[in-house]
Amino acid sequence: MTDEGVADHYQVLEELGRGSFGVVYKAIEKATGETVAIKHIDLESSEDDIQEIQQEISVLSTCASSYVTQYKGSFLRGHKLWIVMEYLGGGSCLDLLKPGNFSEVHIAVICRELLLGLEYLHAEGKIHRDIKAANVLLSETGKVKLADFGVAAQLTHMKSQRNTFVGTPFWMAPEVIQQAGYDFKADIWSLGITAIEFALGEPPHANIHPMKVLFQIPKNPPPRLEGKFSKEFKDFIAQCLVKDPDHRPSARDLLKHRFIRSAGKVEALQELINRKQMWDAKQDRVKLPVFYQETLHNISPKNESDEWVFDTVRSVVVPRRGTVRSRKPSPAFVAEDAMRKLDVKDGPLQPITPQTVKKSTVRRQPSNAYQSHASVRRITSNGSPRASVSSKRPLQPDLSFGNSGSTTRLFRRVPSDHSNPELSPTLEEFKHNENRPPSIYQTPVEPTNKEAMIGRRLYNKAIEPSLDELHAQTATSSKRDALANLSDAFAYLNSVDPEGAYHLFRNIVTSVSQDSRLNQVILGGQNNAQPGPPPKTPVDGTPQGTVVINRERRAMSSVSVSSAASTNLPTPSSNLSPTKLLMSQENPHLLSHRRRRSAVPSDAGSVIAARSPEKGEREREREQRDREKEKLAAMEALRYPGQNAVPGMEHCKQITDLLYSRWTDGLMARWGAAGGRG
């Protein structure tokens, strides 16, 4: 698979947002000048899903309809997969609902277009299985397109059925929940729920926990639209929400419904897009607190003595390195490693050069460093190092995945959000960490003045993520090493002299801005020294839908903007103190982000089982346990739609979540048998 160079065909622009399993960027195809959306999926952070991602691509690539987001191609870059899609500037319907509910006129148009899309898909033997406002995108001209085929199914025989339990609970048809075998009609039910979502801003039962909803939907009579709506609209929804799929009309039938036939032109939908733009402009985009990102740079490129010895021939090995967060070895190792480095007599295996680095850090704050190391050693010898030395994971601000019911999918998909080093932490571990201050082995210098704080912020927000990203996308090992070294060097600078980092960048930016050519190419010609209001938010449209603009990345190019912003944000150092542990409020989001695609037992386990058939029985037990964990995590991940924690009240939300997870724990014990027939 050698398509490294393909990425150069695209000019990647700003981040559009973060979706369910990756970051989405706006980009321009250089050859044609066409704007596209590119989804970056970090394959290194997913366990077994490469085939599933491939399945999604194959469903998408066999669609050719103006009602479906057009797939343009995909290729690998390092361990990132880039999926190139049509760019849709209008955004998702979920985003468009933010300023207010849709009118019937608009809903009728959207529903007609969705029915046309479903008619196409169903004729192709495809079931979308996750119809909801978040997955309906609009072009700038108002064209309506179905997006996110992450859980779509391709039927090989037109009359076959599916049993897999996938979708998003609030929108799921009863027959999907009951796993009685379902077909295309399941999409029609979800469409009915989505129509209610358009009219009321949220699906029915939105105030109930998603896990409970799974019981309610099959048990209760179908939801009905009440209130001041037309008879036609109410009837349309009633038609979609017929519980017996055999009596539920098809997409083609529904296109003849009066509500649909009287619908107007798609251009009318531009009103929704304009409304959203106005609304965005009025918003004081209040940012969620930004969290300090603990960074541990522990492993430097290994020296020769660390390689395997094979006779006289020395094996050529790519040095392992640890600057990329996604592959950081555990902190316990880090701590031990660090201690070994401190001991001059020890460690012929250890790299030599960085020793002084760590030592000088230690020397600056000897007592601190000593303490932290001592405690680490004790814990390590206890045999349970992880709990208290686990480092804080950097968290992403401004994420909004939590506010829509997340898609439950058959296969786990771990997002690429830079914040995901542990491959599969247990829930307990996570919660545990959340309530502890980050322990660190190498105490970074406390930023003492504004410059230092900005310097640290600059490092955490811009430099390190950028280096990580670049590293992840680089395949050549020599280039990777070079980046690793650079990353280490920056980490060191950050730990001992964040102020220096600030001045370095300050100077670079100044120099760049003084050179007209550089200024134009790198800074886009803008005068970056004006702190003023943040630049106008671009219209976000992404194939993911449920994303918000994250401007962090652009903050890099305009240091002073971020400096203005940081004055009313918690400073990095504030997180070092346990009393101000602000991380926890985002953690549930992170968890849900990470786990939202996890799910529900799958037959993926059979692949694992194949590994060691001699252990078949144990494997199955393990699988069972894993499923339990995953289910638990999936439940944890399911959140009320539209309900973000009120700023300052995050802890309440957390407690609620904890209680819910206990409740569902008990629930699963009774309910455990259900689910899981692939």
Binding site: E44, I50, S58, G73, P319, R327, F333, S477
Partner: protein
């Protein structure tokens, strides 16, 4: 009735004429006016597809279907479609995929249930080139997905899988002479269609490579009698190609997936003899130990599941023992910190502990295995 709706429009077409028409159109899609011919062809293919699928409610008449399938065989339509798949229009490629899928599955109700479906039996014995051409679908981005989808369905048949594995040009014993001509004890030259998969997987674009790999995996894991024999007879050729092309691939996906598949192949009981031969080689262990030091965690992790087979083997060969002993201290240190953040992967932790014990308890000098 549906039949009449489809064909009653006065043109007197009968299902058996359609394959003939399709054949004629295919011959002309590249000449002058090829685009128009391609459209004509697409229409005919769509009609064939609809007959095969049957009316929305109910089934097609099996006799009609049998006639159609026979006619498709007579016209050699499957071969022509496979050969030209990448040249067909977008929708026609999808229709072709459906046609293959239905034709290869069709069995007349009166046929003995043990027989292969008619068309599949025909292809396996008389026209193995159809399957070879389907594989060549991976030469083109356009045909990779439809061809791959058809192949994976067909490969459920052991005979069809054998045809692909033993294709070897004109060499006697090649499947080119039909399934019964195959001689399983003859080593392959490496020029057959199966060996082209290595290149498709390593060099193809992501879409092609990923689809080719999925088919490759199916070929090597599905048939528990066929594959072990094949791997034993072609041991050197296969693992040389596998280790140099796939495991060392510069593509992250190819590398990771092929290490994983290697582990699956070795740990499949039916491949016991292959596994013991594999883990006797010091060279194989070296490759594997280097994987443990890859800078990407998932590569390390997949490498571990191959490495464990070497260490857990109670009859380690002398070269393997030598390498392990030479690196004993390093390995012990390395493994004790290997992928430490997999804290909830109990099986992994157990296995890692087991390996550490095994390495620690090795006798200081290599001992010839007792086998």
């Amino acid at each position: 009735m549906a039949f009449q709706v489809l064909f009653g429009r006065g043109r007197g077409r009968s299902p058996t004429d359609l394959p003939k028409q399709a054949r004629e159109h295919i011959g002309k899609i590249e000449g002058p006016g090829g685009a128009a011919k391609a459209e004509e062809l697409a229409k005919v293919l769509s009609q064939i597809k609809q007959i095969l699928q049957g009316p929305p409610e109910g089934e097609s008449n099996p006799d009609t279907l049998l006639q159609l399938v026979t006619s498709i065989n007579d016209e050699d339509l499957l071969y022509l479609l496979a050969l030209n798949l990448h040249k067909l229009p977008f929708e026609a490629r999808k229709d072709t995929q459906v046609i293959f899928s239905y034709v290869f599955r069709f069995r007349h109700p009166t046929a003995p249930p043990k027989n292969e479906p008619h068309a599949l039996a025909h292809v396996i014995e008389k026209r193995p080139q159809v399957l070879v051409e389907l594989c060549r679908g991976y030469d083109h981005k356009e045909s990779a997905t439809p061809a791959g989808t058809v192949l994976r369905e067909v490969l459920k048949s052991e005979a069809a899988a054998a045809v692909i594995l033993y294709d070897d040009g004109d060499v006697p014993g090649s499947s080119a002479g039909g399934y019964s001509a195959i001689r399983r004890d003859r080593p392959q030259t490496g020029n057959g269609i199966f060996w082209a998969f290595f290149d498709w997987i390593d060099k193809g674009s992501f879409e092609v490579a990923a689809d080719a790999f999925t088919t490759f995996r199916e070929l090597l894991t599905k048939h528990k009698e066929l594959v072990p024999t094949y791997l034993q007879v072609n041991f050197e050729l296969f693992f040389h190609k596998y280790n140099t092309t796939l495991v060392q691939s510069s593509s992250y996906v190819t590398k990771r997936q092929s290490i994983k598949l290697l582990g699956e192949i070795l740990l499949d009981r039916s491949n016991y003899n292959v596994m013991t031969a594999y883990v006797d080689r010091g060279e194989h262990l070296k490759i594997c130990m280097n994987l443990l030091r890859d800078d990407r965690k998932m590569v390390q992790y997949e490498g571990f599941h191959v490495f464990k087979v070497f260490v857990a083997n109670p009859h380690k060969s002398v070269p393997v023992q030598k390498i392990l002993l030479m690196n004993r201290e390093k390995l012990l240190h390395f493994l004790s910190h290997f992928l430490e953040d997999r804290t909830d992967d109990e099986q992994f932790i157990d296995e890692r502990e087991f390996l550490i014990r095994q390495i620690r308890n090795m006798p200081p000098q290599p001992v010839p295995p007792l086998r």
